[in-house]
Amino acid sequence: MLIKILGSGCKKCVALAQNAETAANAASIEARIEKITDIVDIARYGIMSTPGLVIDDKVVSSGKVLSVAQITEHLRTIKPEPGANNLG
């Protein structure tokens, strides 16, 4: 799983990155966390406020620092826990 943090390095981006790392570790998900700081690259995702959270190339949030719980929720939706009832 590839998690990208979009932002030019202000405190919010750092906080989001930390929360994302904590969430991934707590959920035992193997995730690589990348920080995208170049404006041109950030623009490619089309978000309008930083920081942005991108999981597996899909924009999940922008403009806010999600809590560890909120990020975990997103991670679980994208990659359900093993043993979850996976019909279809």
């Binding site: 932002g7 030019s8 202000c10 405190k11 919010k12 404006i39 041109v40 950030i42 623009a43 490619r44 995702y45 089309g46 978000i47 309008m48 406020s49 930083t50 924009v59 999940v60 949030s61 922008s62 403009g63 806010k64 620092v65």
Partner: protein
């Protein structure tokens, strides 16, 4: 009825009770005479810091709650449906209530432009956003008066609309870096804040985040204000910024442009300057220059906009600020 309003204004905004309390503290607790330099400085510092933090907390929280209804994506949608002057005016108005951190100015610019919003509209937004801010308007009312605060809003909005329109007339679209137009629009919908609980938690986050960001500017600003208030000799200030000097507004604006401080930090400085007989327009021009333009913001903008357009933008905003300063200076008698 008028008396009730005056009383409310005095107690809630000017916090007369707080000033009296601090006077007691300084006089009886520390044994200093508030008329003396040290006593006066301490009083100014303690009273202003506490007042600003209380107002800041209440204002940021309630205004962020309102702002949760206007994420940039929604603003872009609203603006996309209008044209011409209406769009400009709307952009200027929305600029005042859209949550805006200067680190978002670039993504926002790109987001608006790639969606097809005309440069004029985007710039009206970019000018009004840092300049007119609901919270700072109320702080202005608390430090000066409501009529001054409302006049500031009105003129700030006019500056934003005119500035944006002027930039539009100059047809400088070719001055925008091409990658801006090629940026995709995210299909992510930031209208996702729905429940009241989420709005409250958003308001709380904004409050924490903003206080973290600006507390140092407030302390520095109040510190400078206290120094001006009690320590900097009046003739020194008068020499540069005195009411009779035709260059005072110019000096104030030029000094403010490269600096960046949060608007909450500049208010105590403006307050102290006015008490030292600096013209109201001069003080306001300083405030506007510090918040609307700054070296960091210009450096960031340079990445999406070419030098000629950047110069036009800075030029128009500076000229507008100077003009506003001059207007306020010559009409001060209306506000007294």
């Amino acid at each position: 009825m008028g008396e009730i309003f005056v009383w409310l204004n005095d107690q809630l905004l000017r916090m007369q009770w707080l000033s009296d309390l601090v006077t007691l503290l300084v006089r009886d607790g520390l044994g200093l005479d508030t008329a003396s330099r040290i006593g006066g400085s301490v009083h100014f510092f303690v009273y202003d810091v506490i007042k600003i933090f209380i107002l800041l907390s209440v204002l940021i929280f309630s205004i962020s709650y309102v702002q949760s209804y206007f994420p940039p994506e929604r603003t872009r949608r609203i603006l996309g449906k209008r044209q011409g002057l209406t769009a400009n005016v709307l952009a200027a108005l929305l600029g005042t209530i859209t949550p805006f951190c200067s680190c978002s100015s670039i993504p926002l610019f790109i987001g608006f432009t790639s969606a097809g919003l005309p440069l004029a509209v985007t710039f009206s937004f970019l000018i009004s956003s840092p300049l007119v801010d609901l919270a700072s308007v109320i702080l202005l009312a608390s430090i000066f008066s409501w009529s001054i605060a409302l006049a500031y809003v009105a003129i700030g909005l006019v500056l934003a609309v005119l500035g944006g329109t002027l930039i539009g007339y100059l047809k400088m679209d070719n001055q925008v870096e091409s990658f801006v137009f090629q940026s995709p629009l995210s299909d992510y919908d930031n209208d996702g804040i729905i429940s009241r609980r989420e709005r409250l938690s958003y308001a709380r986050e904004q409050l924490t985040e903003i206080v973290h960001r600006v507390w140092i500017y407030i302390l520095i600003g109040v510190g400078i204000g206290a120094a001006i208030h009690n320590w900097v000799p009046e003739n020194l200030i008068a020499a540069w910024l005195g009411q009779d000097k035709w260059w005072s507004v110019l000096v104030a604006t030029l000094a403010g442009i490269p600096m960046y401080a949060d608007i909450f930090g500049t208010l105590p400085i403006a307050e102290a300057l006015v008490q030292k007989n600096v013209g109201l327009g001069t003080a306001l021009a300083f405030m506007m220059a510090v918040t609307a333009l700054s070296l960091p913001a210009m450096i960031m903008l340079k990445r999406v906009v070419k030098m000629p357009l950047l110069c036009v933008f800075v030029g128009i905003v500076s000229a507008g600020i100077i003009l506003i300063g001059l207007i306020f200076n010559s009409t001060t008698h209306w506000f007294n």
